[in-house]
Amino acid sequence: MVKSMDVDLIFRVAAVGILVAVLNQLLIRSGREEQAMMTTLAGLIVVMMMIIQQINSMFTLIKSTFGF
């Protein structure tokens, strides 16, 4: 079954997403579009750093599984 670490990772990413979405709305409603963009960018970077390791292990798995 999906390893528990992977599911935790997905839900951590979702938590960051929800947090950024709420902040994004707050900043847009208060007239600070630039800061909302920066918040989204920061969230994007945080999530990419979280899943970069997962991407690497997936590519290694694909190479070993299919003999590339």
């Binding site: 994004n24 899943i51 003999g67």
Partner: protein, 124 residues
């Protein structure tokens, strides 16, 4: 399988919820989920490829003949999942490029098998 289905539906709902506040973050979550689930699917495919190799050994087929089959299977799985992820994220041209490249890569992977078959036919 049921847990995977429930997980996928949950992630789609979370992504739809987040897209209200930030479209970018919902795309990021879809990509992250796609990558993790692709890793899981490939780990399950590993059992299949092991079985294909065992069958090839048992039946005395040269393993170089079985390798292209497994490679094309991998190209198909990765190409399909990546193309669908690109479509979900709204980039149809990227999905089309990936599918075309997957077909080309599959044909290239199958060429050694074709040569082997032609050599076999020629030796009869």
């Amino acid at each position: 399988m049921i847990k995977l289905s429930v997980l996928c539906v949950t992630l789609c709902l979370v992504s739809a919820l987040i897209s209200q506040g930030s479209r970018t973050m919902s795309l990021v979550i879809m990509a992250a989920s796609g990558i993790v689930l692709m890793g899981f699917i490939v780990s399950k495919a590993a059992q299949m490829t092991e079985r294909i190799r065992d069958i090839a050994l048992l039946s005395g087929i040269d393993t170089t003949m079985a390798a292209p089959v497994v490679k094309v299977l991998g190209i198909a799985v990765c190409g399909k999942l990546t193309a669908e992820l690109c479509r979900d994220m709204g980039s149809r041209w990227a999905a089309g490029n990936i599918e075309i490249f997957a077909v080309i890569a599959s044909v290239i992977s199958m060429l050694p098998l074709l040569e082997e078959v032609l050599r076999l036919v020629g030796s009869i």
